[in-house]
């Protein structure tokens, strides 16, 4: 199987698939970490649903589905952000309508498109890495660079608005603009990941590596670095595994990410138990604070 794998991976389309997956693995957690920080992990999933309507529009009008997916999901993400900003409980229902409307609208529009069957729909829902063209790869790379420039370059600002939005306002940060930028970047990430893992699994690659990273890291910066590393590893392992066993690359990548999570959780638990056994109970407060004040 090994020789076979090397042979498979020497094929240009497999290399493009690998590269596309690695880029997705790098950027998805770098954006997802902000959603997780706000405890809005599932928003990525919802934006993915909305993107399907964009795909439908693209297929129906004969424009590039990637372009229309970005536009429609960006509009959807901005709507989500505006609902979040209001902070109303009824916003929950509004989101549900938006998300399911998105996926239903997509399926409906694809059905209207001439000669575009359900096979096509599946490729957007679950990814279609193996058909990545050189042109697709360039698009993925450019969009990925935009996302990274924001998520990594503006990290102190985005950290501040997601950590404590009111404090960020009093710091004079352009909170509204940054929130909208983050929303648009979520849409871009979803569209990039649509190729590799598909719209239904996008959220997994945004969230699972972050969840794994925060099992072992103590800070935001550390979590972000580890999550991006974890995303890349999951993408690489997923592609190689899917090549070896001829399984769907998108689903295999997501399973690899989950396997990584379980592995980190298990190793972390063992290490923690050992550390506790070594050092005994740690002092949990500054010594003087343990004295009761009279």
């Amino acid at each position: 199987m090994n020789v076979n794998l090397i042979e498979i991976m020497s094929l240009p389309f497999m290399q493009r698939a690998l590269l596309g997956a690695l880029i997705t693995g790098l950027i998805a957690p770098s954006l997802g970490i902000y959603l997780v920080q706000r405890r809005m992990s599932l928003i990525g999933d919802g934006i993915g649903h909305i993107a399907l309507t964009g795909v439908g529009v693209g297929l129906l009008t004969g424009t590039s589905p990637v372009l229309t997916a970005i536009i429609v999901s960006a509009l959807g993400a901005v709507a989500v952000e505006l609902i979040r900003e209001r902070g109303r409980t009824s916003g929950d229902i509004a989101l549900a309508i938006l998300f399911y409307g998105g996926i239903a609208g997509g399926v409906f529009l694809v059905g209207l498109a001439p000669g575009k069957g359900s096979a096509n729909l599946t490729s957007y829902l679950f990814g279609s890495l193996l058909t990545t063209s050189a042109m697709d790869l360039i698009t993925i790379a450019i969009l990925g660079a935009c996302v990274l420039a924001v998520t990594v370059g503006l990290r102190p600002w985005l950290f501040a608005i997601c950590q404590d939005e009111e404090y960020a306002k009093v710091s004079g940060l352009p909170v509204r603009t940054l929130n909208l930028l983050l929303a648009v970047m979520t849409a871009v990430t979803v569209t990039v990941a649509m190729r590799s893992v598909g719209l239904l699994l996008v959220s997994a690659l945004m969230v699972v590596p972050v969840a794994a990273a925060q099992l072992v890291s103590r800070g935001f910066g550390g979590t972000m670095t580890l999550a991006m590393l974890g995303g890349v590893i999951s993408a690489g392992v997923g592609i190689l595994t899917s090549a070896g066993y001829d399984t769907a690359p998108g689903a295999t990548i997501v399973l690899a990410a989950i396997a990584l999570f379980v592995l980190v959780a298990a190793v972390g638990a063992v290490l923690r138990r050992r550390r506790r056994a070594d050092t005994g109970p740690a002092a949990v407060c500054d010594p003087p604070e343990c004295v009761l004040d009279s």
Partner: protein, 253 residues
Amino acid sequence: MNSPVLEIKHGAVAYDRPVLRDVNLTVRSGEVVAVLGANGSGKSTMIRAGLGLVPLAEGQVELFGVPLRRFRDWRRIGYVPQRLGAGGGVPATVGEVVSSGRLARRGFPGLLRAGDRQAVAKALAAVDLTDRVHDPVAALSGGQQQRTLIARALAGEPDLLVLDEPTAGVDAKSQEAFAQALRDFVRHGGTVLLVAHELGPLQPVITRAVVVHDGVIAHDGAVPHPAGHHAEPGHDHVHPHAPQDPPSIWGRQ
């Protein structure tokens, strides 16, 4: 010397029902003003309105003599909210949270400069959390988290500190330290507006007290009378970070 630093004129705020009716408050440079009042009287609402975090239904706010709408010099203000923000989904270290206090002073976010690091280190020392800098804030006690928020505000080296119950859940020794930090802050030209239920060691630092009651400022002048001791048995502690909201895709509420 005595120019107004924060001024609320005829301020009215309503959520579902009116909370503040006609609030007039002027904090002048060099003052340490305590805001007192019962739970739910609108103390937090008043200072949040003063910072533009809650819209006024009526009236105006001026910061450093500039109407709120046109105010841009946010580096002059340090804010300590009553609670830690909602963003607890990913661990953040004490150092990371306190460093975000420098954001108003840094232009485009880049690496922290030497001056930033110094200010952060000084702020951490002022609240005695230097040795916890690499610990996640979630692993700190409620009082230590409150001190982290104080350090974040101090790190920005502001001219006006606005603090919402900075000493709730903070032990006596740390309250003393905090009172000392406030004294130093005022000696270097700072102004303070703080909400408190019991003043404790802060009492001697306070120059004026206002009491919010029934939507207006019911008292403005000397500190009414010593409030009960912080550690009094049966005292109802307002814990800023107590139970987490149930997780939802919302994050809040």
